[in-house]
Amino acid sequence: MTDPRRLVVVGASLAGLRAVEAARKTGFDGEIVLIGAEEHLPYDRPPLSKAFLGAADESGELAEVPFFRTEQTLRDELDVDVRLGTPATALDTVARRVTVGDDQIAYDALVIATGAHARLIPGAEGLDGVHPLRTLDDSLAVRDKLEAGARTVVIGAGFIGSEIASTARKRGLEATIIEALPTPLVRATGHEMGAAIAALHELNGATLRCGVGVSAIEGDGKVERVVLADGTTIEADLVVVGIGVIPSVGWLEGSGLTIDNGIVCDENLWTGVPGVYAAGDVANWLNPTLGERQRMENWTAAAEQGAAAARNALDPENARPYGTVPYFWSDWYDVRIQFVGSPEADEVRLVDGDPGGGDRWVALYRRGDRLIGALTVNGQAEIMKYRVQIMKGGSWDDALAFAEKRRIAHEEKLAAV
């Protein structure tokens, strides 16, 4: 095959941006088209549920929108044809064309990074004050309500919902979190640690209701209350729905790509269709580092996969697998929660600190005789050391011995103060 002359990237968030940047970094000098469904230039999402929602600083300024690059940088320095505000609606992998509005955009190489969209609660669409939190527009709307002093109800005690409840509390507002499952965060961190982390809410003055569903979100034009399945009514001016996301693959119907919890890819992020690769939240790929199929919803995977998918798409003969030890973080109530690896474990063991009383702890996850995951709460000095061990396939026994050494060193340091 001749060298690709036009790279098309569908999705103008982190993975899409990194695809474009990586393509130029490898020396690709052909055309690049970047397609974004939103009107906005690429922006960074983690702050949208954290610092961006915070109250104004001393000078009265709210946080600025976290755009990654200026339009000028994208167009002039990176020489990208940026097309924002219209989503891609179809992919023809035989003719190698993407449909965007009335345009047909031909590609030699294609990176799909359309991400995921928030799951919504049916029936609440028309009410003012009910929002998901996925996009910049969502975050701006939620921030407006927080600025107005909204009594906040968060539906879903996952990381996004928890961050929002935390921000509301920090602003001195009432915050209630409703979780349908008996324990939050089980899928992300396992049972014991999910319960331990969730306890942070009550400690910080938020109300957490688990094991109860929402039966109605009511109001006249704007939201006024949330009615729970047990009949409880909670008054609310703002309801944030944080019940997960759905991979954005609707536009790929009929494209011939294999869709199963996202776009199914091999370890090179290749979809199996010539020239077509996927990256970020939409990609369900075989992670060679852990030897399991995964679809990530985190910053690190989006950034790295975007770059890897573009490199492989432009030079498929020298394609390299993308493997990683997954990583995510979440900031609540001035506490930093970090997780590396996989929560699917045979055993979870607390190796330092005490969730019952302390504000810092470390838990390790065992699969067979291998270290497979680690969770820290305010353990920034610890977490990445375990990521390195998991990357190298380190053993459980070595990890425990290392943890004990670190625990003693930490204790000695505290005693010396």
């Binding site: 960074d44 690190t300 950034a303 990583y327 930093r336 000095a381 977490i383 990445m384 390195v388």
Partner: protein, 65 residues
């Protein structure tokens, strides 16, 4: 000589750089990033580039000095 620099106004001590280039970066008990060495040899360049690309706050840069 290529060197790595940190913008401490941006860095929040997430530590991804430590996991990708542990000879260069370490986060301390206070959650602050410590740069263990600044000069980057050709052999180390790739891992430091990965650390720079992996930083969610874009706090790291490679510069010529």
């Amino acid at each position: 000589m290529k060197c790595v620099t940190v913008d401490f106004d941006k860095c929040t001590g997430l530590g991804i750089c430590e996991s990708l280039a542990p000879d260069f970066f370490e986060v301390n008990d206070d959650g602050e990033l410590i740069v263990l060495k600044e000069d980057i040899s050709d052999a180390d360049l790739q891992e430091v580039e990965e650390a720079v690309g992996g930083c969610p706050t874009e706090a790291l840069k490679i510069v010529e000095r």
